[in-house]
Symmetry: C2
Subunit: 182 residues, 2 copies
């Protein structure tokens, strides 16, 4: 995951990875069968990390707006802390494979779809409870939140802008309604 987050899933090489692990190429390939098998395993492992770092920590909050808010904060924090040396692996993989067919693309897409569906679901719940600004559309909300996180990721990784998390939090607050004053 560390190598793939920097070099990309295609730049992750059997020979290099085997060296890093102190294995022979054939020894490494014994575990994954092929490069594609390795890529799929990496995507699955990265999704597991995402669930552990973002989904799980927020799952303690009440469904609807509170959980949605916690999920966004965990998401921002996850990007800010940079779980992998090259930033969010799934984001990079999504861009790298978005034009290529095959199981890797499917896997990345499935992960993204599941997460966006979860956001939408919490949004719907919040809307039904009247916790969202009037006229809020959960599907649009998921789109907007995705944009915030992609912008945050780019400003962090490419621009190395330390202000980015603040901007992301502001954007989320605007989308979900300003935080209640403490």
């Amino acid at each position: 995951m560390a190598v793939a987050s920097v070099e990309g899933l295609e730049g992750l090489t059997i020979g290099r990875l085997a060296d890093d692990l102190g294995l022979s190429k054939s020894g490494l390939l014994g575990h994954f069968g092929s490069k594609q098998g390795l890529q799929l395993a990496v995507v699955e492992a990265a999704a597991e990390v995402f669930r552990r770092e973002v989904v799980a920590p927020a799952s303690g909050n009440a469904p609807g707006l509170p959980r949605l808010r916690a999920q966004c904060e965990a998401w921002i924090s996850y990007l800010e802390r940079a779980a992998f040396p090259g930033g969010c692996l799934l984001t990079a993989a999504a861009v790298e494979f978005d034009d290529r067919d095959g199981p890797v693309r499917e896997a990345v897409l499935a992960q993204q779809d599941a997460w966006l569906a979860e956001l939408r679901s919490q949004g719907e719940r919040a809307a039904r409870s009247g916790d969202l600004p009037a006229g809020a559309d959960p599907e649009q909300l998921a789109f907007d939140l995705l944009g915030v996180m992609l912008a945050l990721n780019q400003r962090l990784r490419l621009h190395r802008d330390p202000e980015a998390p603040r901007r992301a939090r502001r954007a989320v607050d605007r989308l979900l309604g300003a935080r209640e004053p403490a």
Copy 2:
């Protein structure tokens, strides 16, 4: 540019490109010197396309909000029309090189910075004219607009969601203030 937009700047290979062009590898390398030279040329050419397709068409509008609105519409349309078979090359390159040092990263970064500065500048002008919703921060606005376009790009390329442009336009309208009723 076509190959690089799908396979990435690293996946763009001397041998393959030479074949596509009906050239020998050495004949091709004569023009660019090295693979890095080729990558830089591709980034520069993609930036030129972006200026022609997005910056130029909007430059006829009055500075401030009208031009900003036109720039956003041109941006959305550019992503929607998919100038390259693999979507926006600069977006892909930004993710691919965001963790790598070197001239290619610098070139991509410079292009992004210039464009975001232009957005911020038009935003400032619009704010001074009072054309923006109260309390609007041009820097924040540039961040938010970047997010909208990155989300649009991802929903188009990865999810292949035909609704994405509509969502992007809605998001832009919200950020810039709803369009005046016709």
